[in-house]
């Protein structure tokens, strides 16, 4: 470790970036620099193939490590429940507050707000630059696609057990009269409609509990 700290990287700057280029975590400028170097240097391109090989096998290795048991979550929430109740202290982070506010808006409201904002900016620009935008108003309508009101009903976030087959999941959805509304999203979650109308909290709780007990389900939570 100490030896490493004292040593300097003996390779070129671009070559040092190859692992991050392969993982797709470089800035656009650096990524372009690496791409240009790869295009003109066959030896660098060969070394990049080695990096990509390492990347693939590192992912493979990590994916074979499995996952913790449900005990980890039970243990965590037992500890959380044992914690003293706290005041609803909120983070003062402005960015998080703004994100939360945006997150609280429905997609339709967001689209409408965005449209209004764009229109306001255009009007302002029009006054300043004296530009007439007669023919462009149609472009600034709502961004929401016409839907059959997909937000109605009760929804849950479900992650299916890794060992569940597509057939298992299909049967599970059919047996419980569930509809996949969206997904998969980050974390492998699906947004699943469990009822077409709003349900009393207790009834929704009973449904979630029943679904939770199915071996096809790895994790389930209600969503507002």
């Amino acid at each position: 470790m100490n030896a490493i700290k004292q040593e300097e990287a003996p390779q070129g700057d671009v070559e040092a970036l190859l692992p991050w280029h392969a993982a797709g975590t470089l800035s656009r400028r650096d990524a372009q620099r690496v791409e240009e170097a790869l295009a003109r240097d066959p030896e660098l391109a060969r070394r990049y193939d080695l990096v990509r090989e390492e990347l693939g096998e590192t992912i493979h290795l990590n994916e074979t490590l499995g996952a913790p048991s449900a005990r980890a979550m039970e243990k965590l929430f037992a500890k959380i429940d044992a914690e003293p109740a706290r005041k609803a202290a909120r983070s003062f982070n402005l960015g998080a507050r703004v994100s939360e506010w945006f997150a609280s808006l429905t997609p339709r409201t967001l689209a409408l707000s965005a449209s209004v904002a764009v229109l306001a900016i255009l009007l302002q620009a029009g006054f300043i630059a004296d530009i007439v935008l007669k023919d462009r108003s149609a472009e600034y309508g709502t961004a929401s696609a016409p839907t059959s009101d997909p937000g109605v009903g009760e929804f849950t976030l479900i992650r299916f057990a890794p060992q569940a087959s597509a057939d298992d999941i299909t049967k599970f959805l059919a047996a419980n009269k569930l509809q996949v509304a969206a997904g998969p999203v980050a974390g492998g979650f699906y947004r699943v409609r469990v009822a077409d109308t709003k349900l009393p909290k207790e009834e929704l709780g009973r449904i979630v509990k029943k679904l939770q007990d199915d071996k096809v389900v790895s994790f389930i939570a209600t969503v507002q």
Partner: protein
Amino acid sequence: MQTTSDEVLIGRIAGGDRLAMQVLFARHHVRVYRFVLRLVRNEATAEDLISEVFLDIWRQAGKFEGRSAVSTWMLGIARFKALSALRKRPEEELDDEAAEAIEDQSDDPETALAKKDKGSVLRQCLTKLSAEHREIVDLVYYHEKSVEEVAEIVGIPEATVKTRMFYARKKLSELLKQQGIERGWP
């Protein structure tokens, strides 16, 4: 579909929202577990540690300033917990032989090479790297962390991140060479 961002979840957790904690846990616990497991090389310890990591997140959510991604913050906490656990662990438990049980299930290097399975040999060699080298390789390749994020998680300068990654890869090449795979680099 709109997914609640990690930052928003942290804001809600700071306000005591248990459901937000469940969502955050479900979203990240497997990756955090794997990161910790690769460091401590003991499944039971890793499982205990992730409960502690997420308990810290529950307790410290109000202090999260959003200067980095939530996953970067979490991996930083996880790393600290893992290293603390390693320091507490008796010497005999650090025996690498015990750790082999949880490593890649593929063949040992010789057998794998006999089967000409280069990928399997490479994975075996990845498990033979030092904790320091395993950590950086995992952060870059598996956890998709940028140079800046690795620097923040590990607590080293960005230039050292690049250097350490270089030496980890160099060591990997040496291990592969010992197993009869010559990569022609470095």
